[in-house]
Symmetry: C2
Amino acid sequence: MGTHSPSGYDRAAVRSVLDRARSEGRDALTAPEGKALADAYGIPVPGEALARSADEAVSLAVELGLPVVAKIVSPDILHKTDAGGVEVGLASPQEVKAAYHRIVDNARAYNPEAQIDGVQLQQMVGGGQEVLIGATTDPTFGKIVVFGLGGVLVEVLKDVTFRLAPVTPEEALSQVGDIKAAEVLSGVRGGEAVDREQIADIITRLSDLVTDFPEIAEADLNPVFASASGSIAADLRFVLDFDPAEPPRRFSRDEILSAMDRIFKPRSIAIIGASNEAGKIGNSVIKNIVDGGYAGAVYPVNPKSDEVYGYTSYTSIADVPGDVDVAVFAIPAKFVAGALEEAGRKGVAGAILIPSGFAETGETELQEEVLAVARRHDVRLLGPNIYGYYYTPQRLSATFCTPYDVAGGTALTSQSGGIGMAILGYSRSTRTGVSAIVGVGNKADIDEDDLLTFFGQDENTNAIAMHLEDLKDGRAFVEAAREVVPKKPVVVLKAGRTSAGARAAGSHTGALAGDDKVYDDILRQAGVVRAPGLNELLEFGRALPVLPAPTGENVVIITGAGGSGVLLSDAVVDNGMSLYEIPPDLDEAFRAFIPPFGAAGNPVDITGGEPPSTYEKTIRLGLEDPRVHALILGYWHTIVTPPMVFAELVADVVAQARKAGINKPVVASLSGDTEVEAASAHLFEHGVVAYPYTTEKPVQVLGAKYRWARAAGLL
Amino acid sequence: MGTHSPSGYDRAAVRSVLDRARSEGRDALTAPEGKALADAYGIPVPGEALARSADEAVSLAVELGLPVVAKIVSPDILHKTDAGGVEVGLASPQEVKAAYHRIVDNARAYNPEAQIDGVQLQQMVGGGQEVLIGATTDPTFGKIVVFGLGGVLVEVLKDVTFRLAPVTPEEALSQVGDIKAAEVLSGVRGGEAVDREQIADIITRLSDLVTDFPEIAEADLNPVFASASGSIAADLRFVLDFDPAEPPRRFSRDEILSAMDRIFKPRSIAIIGASNEAGKIGNSVIKNIVDGGYAGAVYPVNPKSDEVYGYTSYTSIADVPGDVDVAVFAIPAKFVAGALEEAGRKGVAGAILIPSGFAETGETELQEEVLAVARRHDVRLLGPNIYGYYYTPQRLSATFCTPYDVAGGTALTSQSGGIGMAILGYSRSTRTGVSAIVGVGNKADIDEDDLLTFFGQDENTNAIAMHLEDLKDGRAFVEAAREVVPKKPVVVLKAGRTSAGARAAGSHTGALAGDDKVYDDILRQAGVVRAPGLNELLEFGRALPVLPAPTGENVVIITGAGGSGVLLSDAVVDNGMSLYEIPPDLDEAFRAFIPPFGAAGNPVDITGGEPPSTYEKTIRLGLEDPRVHALILGYWHTIVTPPMVFAELVADVVAQARKAGINKPVVASLSGDTEVEAASAHLFEHGVVAYPYTTEKPVQVLGAKYRWARAAGLL
């Protein structure tokens, strides 16, 4: 029985239907078989019964409830309608009786040889709202359920929602309400509201069914007629796959953590292919490890040198005197398998495979060979085809790029080396406090879910930002994310959102990018904050750890520039927040501080020519009033309140509030001459996420923090 | 007759219906009156006729075409259905005859006193696709027409499109195709495609009707049943307004230009309230004008000083010896009207009203008084409540901010002072080449359409970027924009997009922001490129003049980082472009330059470790092949091709191409360590729009250039 299923599923009935289909080599179910599955899992379908005489037809029809549909049942008549074997809308006993005779007569006339088993009567459904409920097997996420409104909304506007199966009843209900046209379900144009819980119940039951029987590759309940009194699936279709793809190798949390701890906090590192020759990757790697300040043991491995960068060099990792936690590979692809064999025997926990020339250039066999060696020795692989990795708490820069030393709470990962370089440059330029930067490249082994599992429990990390083009095991990722999100934000940039992008992703990693809507819905279901683009990934990664989590939805804008107030208001709506309707007493309190022609309400428009004290008093009021949960500040450069004066006063007021135990997120948009750049930087350093020349970005960051806080269950 | 109307409108018939309604003090039309309007303008409606006997009913019904609807006609029966006075679906003469008798009998039973005029027969329509066609009077744009699909799509998803009336048949057709669910009109679920031209024809006729008769405030044709063979408006509703708002004062193009020429290129400027006292606005203004390098005559006006900032000061502008083109006001609001009276007598062309304290603080009367003075003397007002204005070709900085001296082609305007300061700071920080920065503030007089008219013909301006919260005269703006767009891009940031933003706009300027979808559709119809936010306004303003216009839709990505290629591909789709399907011969030519495991196709993935020559050869090929119209470059920082080496080689290759007459837009995304910032700046200075750490922004700018080029008719 599915985790969240109501009791009473008749699994034996389903088993027997599926076994028969399997034994007969079929990959689809007949209509009665489909009905049997629905019945077994309590999915309501129209009642039906087989009548063998006109009188029996009448009594069965009354029992099922009129009106009914009548259909000839004969193994020899495939096209029932052509044979005059179908009549609909039979609303009275008389009509049923007459129809029975006509159908049988028609069938006899159509094919005198036909064996006639009787007439099937089916309760006629319709009316209410047509909806579609389905389940399919996604290559990334496995079993997923889909919901949408029938007809144009699904077919033209693709207004559907996905969830990972099995769903809880709450998830199913959120899925139903998540379609764009959800208002239709509440009744429009005089229509009655439908019972959403009944729809959710069918979704839950179907999700349990496909979870319990993975050989059900696809299921379509379409249409389902939903109304105020219930929902009924009028048509069912099931597709089977008795030979599904093998699930990816899973590691337990303990297995992951014990390997990751040694990889991120190694006591010793061997550099396979360390070199004295400038310009060589093996030279850059050892220099960066040493110059970056790594305090553990460093063992260059290079048969051609006695010493590399001042360290004794070894012919083979086997010769290294002590234990080795991590081996960084800086040798050509073709030598990796051999060297990894030795590293495995030496007992390394992780092999960092910098070299390219594996699956990304078509050398998939070589990559599989290397992976097989790793599995044999219980070595976890990072890469291949990566720049390496950073972990600042250990001052570890195991990469051919340059060391990074601004320690902080953000862990960043990238599937692509180019994006990794952008992460590095951007972080350096903005002085983003980073715990880790990790390239995952071809993901022959270590994947985002391994990293999530580690960073989720890593006390040095308080936000995780990931660039990815695909997920090797979407379900494992979701499980890891669900574990982490209540503790810290997880931001994901999923490249290949569009079909053009997905095509480009295909040519890059050979990865199959799923439909973006599936990713979008399921990542959201897992509580992940999705970044729309690279710049937002970097910005969210930088800014989210700076902001405290909001404890409620009441957002207030305080602005010196009315024009910024308008744009900030637009941005609040764009980013899924809403402006707090300030109650009269608080409004009056704000008004006491601002000129008579300033506008209280929300935005609080303090007007442009005000001295620092006006900013200070209104911001303090916003921070101290417990009904306000987040502040957005709009600053307008004037002679009376120059940028740095504003920045320092805001930093002070916020610091005082935090000392008093008031931790509210504060973001700021600074409009002015170039001095606003330094002022923004000052604010950022003091816990206020601030940007010059943009009203959108600070609000977008606050919106991301809210999305996370909601997913984490904090609101 | 409307400009684009088919001939044969019966305007006299409409006139007489409207005159009667007016004389009777009605603001709505009856159904027969509505039908008369439709008939006069050739809008197809169901046939109808009044029968006074059962036999007449039968012959009329056969004439109209069966089936028909029959309705009682009586001035004493308002609720026809309650009276049993409506029957539908009468499909045979017998049914019509019986229905006639039943209806009359029911009516008599319902109200024995009722005067019965007969039974109205109406052709019964239905089937096909329900659509909505309407017209309304928008406070900003005047007459507009609306189109949408009937039912849920309009009511729940608000899937409607707007156009300014009158529309051309081409515009109406584009309006029909512009709804999100347009595919429905092409036939889905086995439905037939509807005749879009017939729908467009009705839109055109309705738009002519409301244009010819402005007292028709609203018109609803809903539903219109559209099918493959035609469209028919089943229900009509007209609302009249015989007392419409007065249209805003319009100036002719010549009037605008002769004033604007003197305002932007003044031979002499008076500063009313010029002061020697540091910190005063009148001090900042004269200093900025003088220090900014303005070469014309400068006349301080201040009764308390003999000399201001080294210039002879006058007690009144009347005392100034020569002519004065522009008077800048730096005095309190209450003194403006008096001083403006003198300036008017002196014959100034423009008064720059820096002071606040007018409509924005509730002093609307004071503002109207000042406007009246200006009108009396033919003085155009800029402001009030502004920072002033800049025009770099004249080295003119008539503002209390600081001088700006990076001359270039972008003219920027802002309704809000705070946004103006952001424009200044951003432009200075990015060294944006600017022709003008203008604050319009309360827009008591000079409006965006005046400025568009001037900048449109200004040889020093080649792109216009405007921040606005409302348009005082949307129609004049659209007319000005249509004139300018074929010559240079017009970018608009419309603040108050969302209802929260619009509310904030209301509290800021008292301006009524119309529904954003109306702005969106009509600005697009006018060829305006809309910026989604402040940062994009600034970025588009900065970058659009740098890029040559594309001459075709074939966009090619060349990238060293596969990961960037995926994100750039996503961005291409997001920004309304599509990747060129590279033909085999060109594909082969690209492949000749890249490693075997690199991916040709589009993106052209040259792979990460390549030397400068690979970038150079592929980029040159893309530039030289005439089938390619625009290039997007993805750079990945490596030791082999460092950032500045890349930047210089791209700048060189592009310069060579331009010398050879090849002018294609080239944009670049640079991923790498902080050196990519200087490399991006170098590229920007050499005509390649380049950004570090973002794959979205360069593509967004290219997309904006494409949107403009399409609107300008270049593609």
